[in-house]
Symmetry: C3
Subunit: 167 residues, 3 copies
């Protein structure tokens, strides 16, 4: 590789690392526009398991608005162990692990998910964007708080999820 | 940007990433001198919310010495989702999330804080240093262990903190 | 440093960051061959504290196979606060923190370890590999789930571990 190509590659890795950080942080900040801006505009592939398969960023934003965008939802999406592969000047893959925690102050629950993202990125108009993201749950813990005590609702792998209800 | 400028920028991002890692690790290792060395020497801005606003790194070190520097305090400060912006050859901003956990073996408590850092850095005498850091709590969990059982003291957003007592 | 040397250094830092991410992810995916491939082939130094000192990667793989490679073990190894120092074109050091969680669905336990890795890497045949890794536990929590309640088995620093039993 030329000096130029090596710099391009290192800059791409950094940009993608920051893109995923921006997406995960935007979820926790309930920053809807920032969430949307992390994905390509056209048809994409978002497979969030029990949270459904979505073909457009607006569908994901709608889902987030329904499930997460409430004052009683306190989410932490923390990205771990990033492995980024640059395939070409406009195409890249990455694997990330997620440490997710949700405190729901209305239901008095604390939910933890650990899992893996398999992502694809494209550089479109000079900007790296997510074009495919598949999330797989590896472990789940759900705690219900009652009178200051913790009741363990679930502790294991993928929890059978009830159908998504409107928040 | 020239090749030189692009290299400078990538090196700055890496150095700042490692600077924050050094600061957070130094807190967990109770390495007072390393904590101090992460901040600029003159007047700076440290806003740690309920832990006060401090204008000099020695004030922060004093606070850490009082609150954290004890054998019964087992802290984990884990930095998440770093987003680093280089503004010039000597100025940079960053956003970080924090996963903080404290086991207090004397009081038999386990405290978790999730939150965001908004940081500013300057390159002084060839070294990137923190010149401003503002921490905002997003969620808090405090557990009291009694006879092998967990009593949930708090689970929610920012916990109203009692006044800081000497350790 | 020349442009070439600066690029080499930045690429080494990135490769080592991804190597550690690959190792930790491989543990969670029970990807035995990927675990092995992160270490140099000859005599190395692996000191995992209560999990023993190992001089060859095959010994570590054997240990993992015994302790971790079971359907009832759901591990999360999340690397934190990486600090990587490139010593030469073929030698590097790093410090990492670990957030480890294990759900054991057979024993109904949840174990958390926080600690530090001190690592050494060498570039062998064009590839960075782990040649020395020392893990030190900083805090431990072990929860036993019984009838939906949590019994705190341990909360503190290094837990005195029972001898390793075959899984």
């Amino acid at each position: 590789m030329t000096t130029e190509q090596r710099l391009d590659r290192l800059e791409a890795i950094d940009e993608i690392r920051q893109l995923k950080a921006k997406y995960l942080s935007a979820c926790d900040l309930k920053a809807i526009d920032d969430i949307r801006a992390c994905f390509a505009e056209g048809e994409i592939h978002i497979d969030y398991g029990m949270l459904g398969i979505h073909k457009h960023r607006d569908a994901l934003v709608g889902l987030f608005d329904q499930l997460g965008n409430h004052p009683h939802i306190l989410d932490s999406h923390h990205g771990q162990n990033g492995q980024i592969t640059i395939n070409s000047s406009t195409s890249a893959d990455a694997s990330w692990q997620l440490h997710f925690q949700q405190i729901n102050t209305k239901e008095s629950t604390v939910t933890q998910l650990m899992g893996f993202y398999a992502d694809k990125y494209q550089k479109i108009d000079g900007q790296w964007l997510i074009v495919s993201t598949v999330f797989t749950v590896k472990s789940t813990q759900v705690h219900q708080i009652k009178d200051g005590n913790i009741e363990v609702v679930f502790s294991g792998g993928q929890m059978p999820m009830p159908p998504v209800k409107e928040g």
